[in-house]
């Protein structure tokens, strides 16, 4: 049996150990808190870097597309009209009677090509100076697809429009472009709907087509689903989320949610 003194001594030692335990626990908690904070900051930095990367990639892609579009327009439209005008003007020989209807036609062709060049230049200039607007950009893209006559595209919008940062809009636009490209290239769709839902804290965009569909889960796992992965990655770097649903024969629905701030 321990004596009273021994009991008191043991109690004192036990209390010291308990106090030390709580002191050390407090210090460990502080260190852990600090560690978590640093980890969160690191994650935030990585997210920011990913966002910047995606943003510059989106900018480059849009630039590339614009140049391709320009080249195509000049070659297929303006170039053709001017070639025709050149042929028409070449038929005039010195000393021969002037075919006035042909001359008028050539003048009209030159005027048309000039007009086309002006509108092309105007469109480019306006695109550079205005701040990026997702609705406007999507409308222009849809007009371009409609002109091909390959597919029927509709755009719907519900709720009051909110402002999203230019960078986020640019990335969202690239996501929509990627979806539309997939619809045109692989889906064989006849109808595409782009739905904008403006909620109080976030924008939801849904691109739905009635094409042949595919096994979304399987494709996402395979390397062939890189384009789809990039849609999801891009949605993630904006602080939002993405979802791709599709089954063979049932069309495809891509949903992207992006917070306003």
């Amino acid at each position: 049996m321990p004596t009273a003194k021994e009991q008191i001594t043991t109690t004192i030692l036990a209390v010291i150990l308990v106090l030390l335990f709580f002191g050390i626990l407090f210090l460990v908690m502080l260190s852990y808190f600090n560690f978590r904070r640093r980890q969160n900051a690191e994650e935030k930095r990585e997210m920011q870097a990913a966002f910047e990367g995606q943003l510059s990639q989106a900018r480059l892609e849009i630039q590339h597309q614009t140049l391709s579009y320009l080249a195509q327009e000049i070659h297929d439209n303006v170039g053709q009209i001017l070639s025709l005008a050149k042929i028409q003007l070449s038929s005039f020989k010195e000393g021969e009677a002037i075919d006035f209807p042909l001359l008028d036609d050539a003048r009209e062709n030159v005027a048309r090509s000039l007009q086309d060049l002006r509108s092309l230049s105007k469109g480019l200039h306006a695109g550079q100076i205005r701040s990026f607007n997702i609705r406007q950009a999507v409308d222009e893209e849809v007009q371009r697809i409609r002109r091909t006559g390959a597919v029927h595209v509709s755009v719907t919008s519900e709720g009051d429009e909110h402002s999203i940062g230019d960078d986020k809009q640019l990335i969202l636009f690239r996501i929509i472009q990627e979806c539309l490209n997939n619809c045109l290239k692989h889906a064989g769709a006849t109808n595409i709907n782009i739905g904008f839902n403006w909620y109080s804290t976030q924008l939801r965009v849904r691109v739905r087509d009635d094409g042949q569909g595919f096994d979304a889960e399987k494709t996402l796992r395979l390397s062939s689903g890189l384009g789809l992965q990039s849609i999801l990655n891009r949605a993630r770097v904006t602080g939002g989320s993405g979802d791709i649903r599709s089954r063979p024969g049932e069309g495809t629905v891509v949903t992207v949610q992006i917070p306003y701030e």
């Binding site: 001594t9 004192i12 030692l13 106090l19 210090l27 260190s31 600090n34 904070r37």
Partner: protein, 208 residues
């Protein structure tokens, strides 16, 4: 003593972190320990309590200065801390002169100072954690280690000094050794070894 020597060697590192006041604190510690252990050579006192009582009186403002440096607050906060230090010092003097007296070990003062040190070190630690930028680790900050050591040392001291009279009167101990003499040297050893490590860390961080 080795801790003091190391502090002198690393004084630039200590000054860099605003911890230069630790050198006078260590000088005072060394003088007190030397006098306390060899008091019979220097004085005709039967007890060395007066030496430790004076140590409490002298070290308190130095510790307040140390905490003020580590807290790094604005002028108003420093002023408030200065007034608190003055108030604490007055209470210690009252105890020293009138309540427990200089001839008896001032357990109230020791307890009170341990308590104040625990509270202040906790505040400094919490502030260090909140204020720390996202880049640097708390474990690389010498102030964190110094405060941790002060906190742990004072937790032990709070109990041992609080019960000092009881331990001595009732001859409480481990293996025939007084409990105070069994625990405090070990606590001191850990405390000063830890401080030495923090001094080296100061120097290393400064040289980075």
């Amino acid at each position: 003593m080795s801790s003091l020597l190391l502090a002198l060697v690393c004084r630039r590192g200590l000054n860099y972190f605003g911890l230069g006041i630790l050198i006078p604190i260590l000088v005072l510690d060394n003088v007190t320990e030397t006098l306390g252990n060899n008091y019979k050579l220097f004085t005709h006192l039967f007890q060395n309590h007066v030496i430790f009582n004076v140590y409490i009186l002298l070290s308190t403002p130095l510790f307040f200065y140390l905490f003020a440096s580590m807290l790094g607050g604005n002028m108003a906060e420093r002023r408030r801390l200065r007034w608190i230090a003055v108030g604490v010092e007055i209470l210690l003097l009252i105890n020293f002169c009138f309540v427990q007296g200089w001839g008896e070990f001032n357990t109230f003062s020791a307890l009170f100072i341990s308590f104040i040190n625990i509270i202040l070190s906790c505040i400094v630690l919490a502030r260090l954690t909140m204020r720390k930028d996202d880049e640097s680790s708390l474990l690389h900050d010498p102030s964190f280690w110094i405060n941790s050591l002060i906190l742990l040392f004072n937790l032990v001291q709070l109990l041992i000094l609080g019960l000092y009279k009881y331990i001595v009167t009732n001859h409480l101990g481990i293996s025939n050794q007084n409990l105070y003499l069994a625990i405090m040297p070990a606590a001191n050893a850990v405390y000063y070894a830890g401080l030495s490590g923090a001094f080296l860390l100061c120097q290393l961080q400064k040289n980075k």
